[in-house]
């Protein structure tokens, strides 16, 4: 017990350090690109004078000493605030109005987590039986079909999968909505609309809107996980203890479920932990294909900024980076804890291998 406590403390401390490093790195990157925050204040597209640039930066507080800005950001974060967004800043009667980051950020975190968790569960649920079937008889027809399917899955860009699924199930067949997101909890219609105004929400709407994103997300990881489970099953199916189990009269299903597949569970867990970062990269394209304004999409928007202004929305970028880091760190913490539970021998050891090399193309 003491060991696990030590392990958790170390991990959490490591996570906080990672967050500090990532945020500092983001600030350094931002300063290294000669930013023009003033462009957010004055209408973009037209030619903007140096005075306006300086004035805009001053109004946003971006002309203060760098260390002050940096410290100020942490101070606000410790008080639970991500500050004000730069995008959409408007100057009226010499008064600058900006919107807070939160209302845009928190729903997007829910959306991205819905996609990630649902997609990950779907990927594991489908890949375990497929990998078991393929690995049981290497070289059989089923194995070849599954292996070729996995190869195609690895090689298909999520944006393509999304495009094709939308075309077939959304437009041609009309079974599913082609995009957008519905919250899990049904909210009353916004003020000013009648109470029976149709709004989108509730578990059913939530799930129907997410089925295609889940499958799009799962398709890539499905392929990777199926390959890995296949290899693990093919390795352990000829072990002595499997033969013993068969000799004792255990049914094939029990042999697979109790003696063969548990070997793969550690590797699956390892891969899930390693793939959290990759998954966020894939989520960019899933969110893009279905027009879901999630976290990954938000980060791209914050980086590219206003297309006309071509400037980076720093407060939004920092908020998104913080959230992504938290997801990666907490996800890894959960996986590490599960790892220690599943296999007590390697509780605090480094985990082996990762699949990122394979999925690098789309992450």
């Amino acid at each position: 017990m003491k060991r696990i406590g030590f392990f958790l403390t170390r991990r959490i401390a490591g996570g906080v350090l990672t967050l500090v490093a990532v945020v500092t790195f983001t600030w350094l990157m931002y300063w290294s690109i000669s930013p023009q925050p003033g462009r957010f204040v004055y209408p973009a597209g037209i030619k903007i004078t140096n005075f306006q640039l300086a004035d805009g930066a001053h109004r946003l507080g971006a002309d203060r000493p760098k260390l002050t800005q940096y410290g100020d950001w942490w101070w606000h974060l410790l008080h639970g605030s991500f500050g004000q967004r730069w995008t959409g800043a408007t100057l009226n009667d010499n008064v600058l109005t900006t919107a807070p980051v939160g209302p845009l950020l928190y729903p997007s975190v829910r959306e991205t987590l819905s996609i990630l968790l649902g997609g990950a569960i779907l990927a594991v649920l489908i890949s375990v039986p497929l990998g078991a079937i393929a690995g049981r008889r290497v070289g059989s027809l089923a194995d070849r079909v599954i292996s070729i399917g996995a190869l195609v899955g690895v090689c298909t860009h999520p944006i393509v999968t999304g495009k094709l699924l939308t075309q077939w199930f959304g437009i041609d067949l009309g079974w599913l909505p082609i995009g957008g997101y519905c919250s899990f909890v049904k909210h009353p219609p916004p003020a000013g609309l009648p109470a029976n105004f149709p709004t989108c929400g509730g578990p059913v709407d939530w799930a129907t809107h997410l089925i295609m994103p889940w499958f799009t997300f799962a398709f890539l990881f499905l392929a990777l996980y199926t390959r890995m489970i296949r290899a693990s099953v093919a390795e352990s199916i000829h072990e002595d203890y499997v033969r013993t189990a068969r000799a004792k009269g255990a049914r094939e299903r029990r042999v697979m479920a109790r003696h063969v597949l548990p070997n793969a569970s550690l590797r699956v867990l390892t891969m899930v932990g390693m793939d959290i970062g990759t998954a966020l990269g894939v989520a960019v394209f899933v969110e893009f294909a279905y027009g879901i304004p999630g976290l990954a999409r938000l980060s791209i928007d914050a980086m590219t900024g206003d297309p006309l202004a071509s400037a980076t929305d720093l407060p939004m970028l920092l908020a998104v980076v913080t959230m992504i880091t938290l997801i990666v760190v907490i996800g890894n913490l959960v996986v590490d804890t599960l790892y220690a539970v599943v296999d007590p021998r390697t509780g605090t050891a480094d985990r082996p291998g990762r699949t990122k090399e394979i999925a690098a193309g789309v992450m």
Binding site: I159, V160, L280, G281, V284, M303, P307, A360, M363
Partner: protein, 349 residues
Amino acid sequence: MTAVELDRPRAAPRAAWRLTLGRFLSDRAAVASLAAFALVLFASFAGGPIVSAIVGHNGFQQFPYATDASLDPVGGWSRVPTTQQVRLDEYGNVLPPPKGSTKTLMVLGGDGPLGRDEFIRVLDGGKASIEVGVFAVLISALIAVPLGCLAGFYGGKVDAIVSRLTEWVMAFPLIFFLVFATVHLTSTLRPIGWGHDIPAGVPMVALLIGVFTSFYPLRLVRAQLLTLRNSEFVDSSRMVGASGLRIIRKDLLPHLIPTLLVWGAVAVATDMLLEVGLSVIGVGVQSSTATWGTLLAQTTGTIYNAGFGGGDHHTTWHTVWPTLAILISVVSLNQLSESLRRAIEPWRR
């Protein structure tokens, strides 16, 4: 066993690379994937000019009549007037082309309002996509091999820095780094190109992808050198007084070639997919240059431009041709890499 058999002259031992080549050629999947990728290469680099010569127009020419009055492109294999002038009636509606105007074969309808031959553009786009993939792999190899050798062979501080940096960068989605870098380097780097052979924007995308993906081969090279540096042939070289750099160059680099080949084949494929991703986000090669990514982005849209995805101004073929092209080349490269690995290391199935 008789004496006669023993006296028979023994065949000269065959070189290792010949054995590998033999294993590679006797693998059906290997030959098939090699043939498929050769076909893709031929279609991308020679296909455009050949098809242009046959049908009499190229992928840059625009045919206003390739779209109908509501800007919907015509379907595949349609005959379209080649005239460049569109006649309008007094209300601004497009009139049918004059009778007797010369006709040409459009293999696929034009894209949206521009009216270019989409099929030739897919062939031309392959050139840019493959160039991005190959250049990016060369760049990341150029970065990874020296750094990986230093880190793996000498260890110590260099190794610690390189390893930590690699782990840290790899924990985060690569696409974010790429987008951030591309957005802010676009104005300076994107115009660089070399005529039609290397379209503008290709060097930039290749450079950025190459730099940010060099962490994978770096890990590979480092891991391999870590296992090799204590082997006997390195010790013997050291004993006769070879310097570290000479050992790396003469003794260790040849051992890296198989690893790099296997990695390179699959990396070309992943780099092509990254190009697609960047184009779809809208920060890759200029959207007017045909690559498989930008062609796909025409229908999916980018963050700067909604594309035709929502409207009707595209046919399913606009998605299918680039998708098929990407799929064939990426699948064949992946299989090629897998087959190479099997041929080089047959004991590791």
